[in-house]
């Protein structure tokens, strides 16, 4: 007797082969989707949001594409998740990780079809991943000691990262920007200290790195436009009406005169507050919250530059740059640490006026001003630069470097192939499959560039047969070339994260033999 209704209505259950097929297909579909964006000649995607305004994003960044997709297939969600983690952890390689996981599953599917148990495949993949990682570890170059060389490594890495993005035309310019910005951080990975301001207009080449700090605000009317040797008080305090914070308090008056009295008292209170602030001996006051006209006028009278409504990040960065503390009470002026900088002035970028702080006490922070033809270009440039900055800041901490252009994949594939030959049993099929999946990455890069991938990859493999080869695919000239000469480098940390997370994800999906989908939660119709 069959069981009717074990699950709730609409809940579905997929078992065994069908479940496996569903997850393989889902994962591979995702991998194929982002596949074409891989490599220096990868294409971009247009994403249109479903929200109001149908805003459009043009991007090449795997994580951004996947984040905006609405996905129903659970296996596909696993891949989206690893891409997001890759973005959070190392910042780059978000496409590679998905493509590699997809290829691993594609190979696994073939093996499952010839009746090899998923668990056997998993144990083979594990061995292969370990072996591939060791192969990379053997080949890494670490130039931490040699500052000159290290800087050129960083330069190469950022150029390699940027070459697959919209900035590839001016990659040298931007690579230099990114390296300079990261070097200023002096080893910290706190990317908040690097501010990116986007201003439409001009061309991408006009983007520049500013050593000081730029705040996207206007200077109040009647206040000094230029201050030398500024003393800055960074504050987070209400400068509109100071509410009484005691619970339940309210104003109750019974005549017009009393209203006036209270108003007067309020004004006195504000005046006192402003007086206290001014008595810190400052000539610039930056507040996170609004500053009303009345206190603004008072500040103007005292010759103090008052800037209102700087957002929270702005305040934090400004405090970091100028070395001041963020103040909310002003009763003891002697002990509040003020921020300092040599010069504050109003500058023009394009059409907009901005406030520029230069000659700051702490050299860590800086601002990158991006210029470009449209806001889409700027957004994409911002994402690309963010990727480069992330990779660089991670490389500063872990300075191990590898060559790029498919070189690491070839090295890994070779080592894994050797392991397959040595391993007895069915596992060796899985190990071989792993090496095929690794080879798929240079193949896709070449395909995307419109090159004869089969020819190039086989040439590359022959090159790599020799010990210590440095050959990789040079997409620009469309041939196999020496990656040391071309200066194509990648960070070890990124490659390692790609390898490990892709294997982990593939393993997770392979282990599944049943998918149970609950009935989707009903949304109330708001008609």
């Amino acid at each position: 007797m069959a069981v009717e209704k074990l699950f709730k209505d609409e809940a579905t259950e997929e078992k065994g082969e069908r479940a496996r097929m569903a997850s393989f297909i889902g994962a591979m579909a995702i991998a194929d989707l982002v596949k074409t964006t891989l490599g220096p000649k990868g294409m971009d995607k247009i994403l249109q949001s479903t929200g109001r305004g149908r805003s459009v994003t043009v991007t090449n960044d795997g994580a951004t594409i996947l984040k905006s997709l609405h996905i129903d297939n659970p296996a596909a969600k696993v891949l989206v998740d690893i891409s997001k983690v890759q973005d959070d952890e190392v910042g780059d390689g978000t496409t590679s990780v998905v493509v590699l996981a997809g290829e691993l599953l594609r190979e696994a599917e073939k093996l499952v079809n010839v009746k090899i148990h998923p668990m056997t495949i998993i144990s083979g993949y594990r061995m292969a991943a370990e072996c591939a990682r060791n192969a990379l570890l053997e080949k890494v170059v670490d130039n931490k000691q040699d500052a000159e060389k290290f800087k050129s490594d960083l330069m190469k890495i950022s150029m390699t990262t940027l070459s697959s993005k919209i900035l590839s035309q001016d990659k040298e310019h931007f690579a230099k920007l990114a390296v300079d910005a990261v070097m200023r951080l002096k080893g910290s990975t706190n990317l908040e200290a690097i501010q990116i301001i986007k201003k439409p207009g001009g061309s991408l080449k006009d983007s520049f790195l500013d050593e000081g700090f730029i705040l996207d605000k206007k200077i109040g009317i009647g206040q000094p436009k230029r201050i030398e040797n500024a003393k800055i008080l960074v504050a987070n305090t209400a400068m509109d009406t100071d509410k009484v914070k005691i619970y339940g308090a309210r104003v109750r008056v019974d005549s017009m005169s009393k209203v006036a009295e209270i108003e007067g008292a309020e004004k006195v209170k504000m005046r006192e507050k402003v007086q206290k602030i001014i008595s810190h001996g400052i000539n610039c006051f930056v507040n996170r919250q609004l500053i009303y006209n009345f206190p603004e006028e008072l500040f103007a009278d005292a010759g103090v530059l008052a800037i209102e409504h700087a957002d929270f990040d702005g305040i934090e960065r400004l405090a970091l740059v100028t070395g001041g503390e963020i103040a909310s009470t002003f009763d003891n002026p002697e002990s509040v640490k003020l921020g300092q900088c040599k010069l504050i002035e109003e500058i023009m970028i394009g059409e907009d006026k901005l406030i520029h702080f230069s000659g700051c006490e702490m050299g860590q922070a800086c601002t990158i001003v991006l210029r470009g033809a449209s806001s889409h270009v700027l957004d994409e440039a911002d994402r690309s630069l963010h990727d480069a900055l992330c990779v660089l800041s991670q490389t500063v901490n872990d300075s191990r470097v590898l060559l790029g252009g498919g070189w690491p994949e070839m090295v890994m594939a070779k080592a894994v192939d050797e392991l397959a030959r040595k391993t007895p049993g069915k596992k060796s099929h899985a190990i071989e499959a792993f090496s095929r999946a690794l080879l798929a990455i240079p193949t896709i890069i070449a395909d995307n560039a419109g090159l004869d991938s089969a020819e190039l990859v086989s040439q590359l493999r022959a090159e790599h047969h020799q010990e210590g080869s440095t050959a990789g695919i040079d997409v620009i000239s469309g041939s196999v070339g020496d990656m040391v000469e071309r200066g194509v480098s990648e960070a070890f940390k990124v490659k390692q994260a790609v390898l490990l997370s892709a294997t982990e994800a593939a393993e997770m999906i392979l282990r599944v033999d049943e998918i149970i989908t609950c009935a989707p939660r009903r949304r109330e119709d708001r008609m």
Binding site: M1, A2, V3, L6, F7, K8, A19, P74, A75, V78, I82, V85, D87, D88, E89, V90, H117, R126, L191, N236, T237, D242, V244, K245, I246, Y247, G248, A249, R250, V251, V253, K258, I262, A265, E266, K269, A319, L320, E325, I326, A327, S328, D331, S335, C390, S393, Q394, L500, S501, A505, M508, R511, V512, D513, E514, I515, I516, C518, A519, P520
Partner: protein
């Protein structure tokens, strides 16, 4: 038909609205129930053992969970059938009581039901079957005790504990680094265990996860990790020899519970109120400072002004810390949770050797580590992993391992795994069956067959010939009189589980047998299912 006639011969209906209810009775009800129970067991069957597969579950909101843990799978399934719900309960109670073996118990209940179906077809009354099962379960329970080994461990020799945890972990996705995770679990349990009373309070072990890094980076921290950062970005990121004030009152003006209004109608009142307000903040911070605190941990938020005052007086603070975490911090640092500023005294402060803030990855995720605490009885297991699902699954696996370690500290008897205990019980029950006169004999024999189904599933999942392997192992057990023979899932080459170091806790196994039998008895006693029809 539930139709009766009153004394005047007029018909009346006892159960109303017959048409709108679905009703199953007698043998049909039994069969439907058994089929439902079997269906649930069938889902879990492939997850058993070290080579068991995972299930992918999609929740109503679209979140994906991938897991191998029986209790989790059943919990997240959208089960509608009443009997299936009983099975879910069964697995849950095993989870609460023992923490491990949640898959095994369901598989066993499924097998018992399957056997019961055959007996029903032969016309044996369900109650007789239930009684037979009850007798058989008692035999198995006692036999388990007989074959159990006591094993000795102490704070220095933890190897047996680690081995047992490894058995638990080997069926999960984390088996890649089961050794290190098992060690972490054992160390954590020993750190909080009260070896005198043989009791472990698992609440003292906090399991925290953060996406990123790799599984190998998972670590045990003798202290607390809180997923929060300092309230003010410019507060110091590292505090040595911290004295911690643990507060449950906000740094805000007081809010009396009774409804009240403060009317401001004159300028003087306005001004006094303002001064009062400033004084509040000042007093609060001063009170913390006066007792000598160097770190404030607060359950609530701070006002901007209070925040700055704290920063200004060089008093780092953490806000919005959850209640459970607050308690753990209090336990670890030996401090008291203080509900009012007035009640702060130096004795109530907690102490920690080092408090530091640590950043992860490229996003601005920060966490606060409280280490070298005065009382190191609270520990944190900090899990890293490639993605969110991995972390969740690792958390569940660690929980299982912790439970196993705890059970062993409570009762240090073990049985051997790999299905060997089940096979041994099956032999014992089979032998005992012949001694019982009456129909129960058949039920007891069926129970023995049902016990065989666990090793059978193990062998099946490992890609071995189930019947062949099982009979080989069984004959080995009888021939050599060695109850350690089990299924060689990992293809090591020996079927002696003693050599393979595959152990399970005795109470876990006993509980499995008892719980499975109880649920099956309950299901067998149902002979009428009335359910409202769809409306």
């Amino acid at each position: 038909m539930a139709l009766a006639f009153d004394e005047f011969g007029r018909p009346f209906i006892i159960i109303k609205e017959q048409e709108s209810k679905k009703r199953l009775r007698g043998i049909d009800a039994h069969k439907a129930n058994i089929a439902a129970g079997k269906a649930v067991a069938r889902i879990l069957r492939t997850s058993l053992g070290p080579k068991g597969m995972d299930k992918m579950l999609q929740s109503p909101d679209g979140d994906v969970t991938i897991t191998n843990d029986g209790a989790t799978i059943l919990e997240q399934m959208d089960v509608d059938n009443q009997i299936a719900k009983l099975m879910v309960e069964l697995s849950r109670s095993q989870d609460y009581e023992i923490g491990d073996g949640t898959t095994g118990v369901v598989v066993m209940a499924g097998a018992l039901l399957e056997q019961a179906e055959r007996l029903l077809e032969r016309g044996i009354h369900p109650i007789r079957i239930a009684e037979g099962y009850e007798m058989a379960s008692r035999i198995a329970y006692e036999h388990l005790e007989l074959i159990a080994h006591k094993f000795e461990f102490d704070a220095t020799n933890v190897e047996p504990l680690v081995q047992t945890c490894m058995t638990t972990l080997s069926s999960k996705i984390v088996n890649r680094c089961k050794r290190s995770l098992a060690e972490i679990a054992v160390k954590a349990v020993l750190a909080v265990a009260d070896l005198e009373r043989r009791d472990v309070n698992l609440d003292l072990i906090k399991v925290e996860g953060k996406v990123g890094g790799k599984l190998e980076d998972t670590e045990l921290i003798y202290g607390i990790v809180v997923d929060k950062d300092m309230s003010h970005p410019q507060m110091p990121k590292e505090i040595q020899d911290a004295k911690i004030a643990i507060l449950t009152c906000p740094f805000e003006p007081p809010k009396p519970k009774t409804k009240h209004k403060v009317d401001i109608d004159t300028v003087e009142k306005f001004q006094t109120l303002r001064l009062q307000e400033q004084k509040y903040f000042d007093d609060m911070v001063q009170q913390c400072k006066d007792v000598g605190a160097t770190l404030v941990i607060c359950q609530w938020g701070f006002d901007d002004e209070a925040n700055h005052l704290l920063m200004h007086r060089n008093l780092p603070a953490v806000r919005w810390v959850g209640g459970v975490e607050l308690e753990l911090i209090a336990i670890a640092t030996g401090g008291r949770i203080v509900p009012r500023f007035q009640e702060l005294t130096p004795e109530k402060l907690g102490r920690a050797g080092l408090v530091r803030e640590k950043a992860f990855g490229t996003t601005k995720d920060r966490m606060i580590y409280i280490e070298h605490c005065a009382n190191s009885r609270a520990v944190t297991i900090f899990i890293r992993g490639g993605n969110k699902m991995m972390i969740e699954e690792t958390k569940r696996s660690i929980h299982d391992a912790l439970c196993v370690a705890r059970n062993l500290i409570r009762n240090n008897s073990i049985v051997y795994g790999g299905g060997s205990a089940e096979i041994s019980c099956s032999i014992a029950v089979e032998a005992a069956a012949d001694k019982y006169p009456g129909v129960e004999q058949y039920a007891i024999r069926s129970f023995a067959d049902a016990l065989d189904s666990v090793p059978m599933a193990l062998a099946e999942n490992s890609g071995l010939q189930p019947i062949e392997t099982l009979s080989a192992v069984k004959s080995q057990q009888i021939k050599k009189n060695n109850h350690c023979c089990g299924i060689d899932c990992n293809d090591v080459g020996t079927d002696d589980m003693c050599e393979q170091n595959v152990f399970e806790a005795l109470i876990g196994k006993q509980q499995q047998v008892l719980l499975a039998t109880q649920v099956v008895k309950m299901i067998l006693k149902i002979d009428d299912v009335i359910s409202p029809s769809d409306y």
